[in-house]
């Protein structure tokens, strides 16, 4: 039997979430749907955007190898960045976690502090250090005679990976840090009392337990790197484009909005697929640790 009170209770969650839901629909879902629709419109140098339904943009992206190469580059950079942050960030979080109270907070601040500084400022820092003949490091090394020409950093994938890894590191450290907090504080002592050495403890006891943290950190870093704009824009400029900078160019320089929309839509779809897929895999694989 349903009473008026029951009905009110059933409606309450909807009423309470309505404002947030409206915001979500208004600023995310509608523009997203419009972007997807835009990617099927036509565009010409002189006629501008024509609201028709054609597959021209999609056909171009699929057939022109330029786009395949650009997408492949985008994901290659994201993967390498993810690997680099995992290789550096996981040990970093582990060492941090073993520090004494005061040092721990100081170094945590050092690691997380950059989050408070704009990505642009941080990336420009790299450019100042390694940018061509005038880069600080390049100048020093060249005047010391260690190298004869500037270290190739700007407009290279290596440079982009290094700068992105620097920007993304806090996310990986935080994620592994969270996993480390779930560890039993006596777990290492337990393994040690059973005869395990330090390396065995890390490999057999710690690693398997923080793996979910590393992987969820990897998902965050990967998706943020693949869709990153500021860092690739500064390091890669218009010479070394990734999906985000290409979409930006199509929108604001070429003014070919429909093509830009198609690139953005494809990037989003690919990311959603990769993130959802790997998340499901991780949860299944690490069911026992997550529980």
């Amino acid at each position: 039997m349903s009473t008026a009170a029951d009905e009110r209770n059933a409606r309450a969650p909807w009423a309470l979430t309505a404002p947030a839901l409206m915001l979500f629909v208004g600023v995310l879902l509608i523009p997203l749907a419009m972007t997807v629709m835009l990617s099927f419109h036509d565009w010409g140098q002189y006629k501008g955007i024509e609201p028709v339904f054609i597959l021209k943009n999609w056909h171009e992206i699929v057939t022109d190898p330029y786009y395949a190469e650009m997408f492949w580059r985008t994901f290659r950079i994201a993967i390498l960045t993810t690997l680099l942050t995992a290789l550096l960030g996981a040990p970093e979080a582990y060492i941090l976690n073993r520090m004494d109270g005061r040092w721990k907070s100081i170094f945590l601040l050092v690691i997380l502090g950059p989050l408070l500084i704009s990505v642009v400022a941080r990336t420009l820092g790299w450019a100042l250090l390694f940018g061509g003949n005038n880069g600080l490091v390049n100048k020093l090394l060249m005047s010391a005679g260690v190298i004869s020409s500037p270290i190739p950093f700007m407009f290279t994938e290596t440079g982009m990976v290094v700068a992105l890894a620097h920007v993304m590191m806090p996310f990986m450290v935080l994620s592994v840090w969270a996993a480390l907090q779930r560890l039993d504080p006596q777990i290492e002592n337990a393994a040690m009392s059973l005869g395990a050495g330090p390396l065995t403890i890390i490999r057999r006891i710690i690693m398997p337990q923080i793996m979910p943290g590393v992987l969820s950190g990897a998902i965050i870093v990967f998706s943020l790197s693949a869709s990153a704009f500021a860092t690739p824009a500064i390091i890669g400029g218009r010479r070394l484009k990734v999906a985000a900078t290409l979409a930006y160019d199509e929108f604001l320089n070429t003014l070919n909005w429909p093509l830009g929309a198609a690139v953005a839509t494809l990037l989003l779809a690919a990311l959603v697929l990769i993130v959802v897929g790997s998340n499901a895999l991780i949860e299944r694989r690490y069911a026992e640790v997550f529980r």
Binding site: N189, M192, S193, G195, P208, Q209
Partner: protein, 346 residues
């Protein structure tokens, strides 16, 4: 001969002395409990034996070998942690097998010993369960099996039962005692539960603020507490102020109107401790009035107001008539049922 020996062990954290002058010798096969309130340094002492903490001073010997010189991983001690510290990503069998793997025990023997260890703690058939899918009691058993399967020279247990509910705790106490008797492993148990310490151990080390208050069998510590702390901590007790009068012959111990021949070696003001169940109602003795009378099934609990302050009396419910609330009574006890200590500051 002592099997495990702690010789004036001390531990300081900064300026705080957490364990001080801790000397104990444990015989082979003995079951020892460290008993004391939370924060008195029991875990610290256990961790020093395990090697997770270095003592600030003092020596530890196992079979006359200096234990401090041996790395914790090589000490071969079995440890059950309060939180169990099981490896959550491994099954019960893998958890138990870990120590054997570290010792390079061949696969076949390993499997057999793991099976036997799990069977011993009553977990046959749970080999492939992960710890997070087990109840607290089952996890506790896995932790015990994991510690015992390596045939440790000493088993260290840090409040292993404190996370279990009362009924399960009692069951595990009995089981723990049985297992320890069967395999004869020298065991040190840390607990703040006096009943647990008394029902399990051969000897109890009562600790307070990092110092040993008393070492003795459960009966000794209960019936002959060496200090006020011990008598208060191990169950209920009555402390009466008394005096030893050496001006009369024979010398007398006087507690209110209760009198007895004085014990040797003491004089002047003393504190007399008597357990509530050792006090009876008689014709002579401490005069008191019964304030409340509480029926508790197998016994009666009386709260009295005596001439020496409040007193608790416990009488078996043996079917005899008991005094009622408001009755004036005389409290009496046998001299051998009390412990007498010098009273400071009087």
């Amino acid at each position: 001969m002592a099997y495990l020996e702690l010789d004036r062990v001390a531990k300081q954290f900064g300026v705080q002395t957490v364990v001080d002058d801790f000397s104990l010798s444990v015989g082979k096969g003995e079951f020892i409990s460290f008993l004391g309130p939370s924060g008195c340094g029991k875990t610290t002492t256990l961790q020093i034996i395990a090697g997770f903490l270095d003592p600030t001073r003092g020596a530890i010997r196992l079979e006359d070998k200096n234990l401090a010189a041996i790395h914790p991983a090589k000490r071969g001690l079995g440890i059950v942690f309060q939180s169990y510290a099981l490896f959550p990503h491994m099954t019960a069998a893998e958890n138990v097998a870990f120590g054997l793997e570290m010792r390079n025990v061949p696969r076949g023997e390993r499997a057999e010993r793991v099976r036997a260890a799990l069977a011993m703690v009553g977990l046959a058939g749970y080999e492939d369960r992960h710890p997070r899918r087990m109840s607290g009691g089952q996890q506790q058993r896995v932790a015990l099996a994991r510690a015992l399967v390596i045939k440790p020279s000493v088993l260290l247990l840090d409040e292993p039962l404190s996370n279990l509910d009362a009924k399960l705790r009692e069951e595990m106490q009995i089981e723990l005692r049985q297992i320890q008797r069967t395999i004869g492993t020298t065991t040190i148990l840390v607990t703040h539960d006096q009943n647990e310490a008394m029902s399990l151990s051969d000897r109890i080390v009562v600790m307070s603020q990092g110092k040993i208050e008393q070492i003795g069998t459960p009966q000794e510590t209960y019936e002959r507490p060496a200090s006020a702390f011990v008598s208060q901590f191990l169950g209920k007790t009555n402390d009466f102020a008394g005096t030893i009068d050496r001006t009369v012959v024979p010398t007398q111990l006087v507690v209110g109107s209760w009198r007895a021949p004085a014990p040797a070696g003491l004089s002047g003001p003393v504190t007399v401790s008597v357990r509530p169940e050792r006090i009876g109602f008689g014709d002579a003795g401490l005069s008191a009035k019964i304030m409340t009378r509480i029926f508790q099934g197998n016994h009666w609990l009386f709260q009295c107001d005596s001439e020496c302050g409040p007193a608790i009396v416990i009488r078996q419910n043996d079917g005899q008539a008991q005094p009622a609330e408001g009755d004036a009574v005389r409290l009496t006890w046998r001299p051998e049922d009390m412990s007498v200590r010098a009273r400071a500051g009087a």
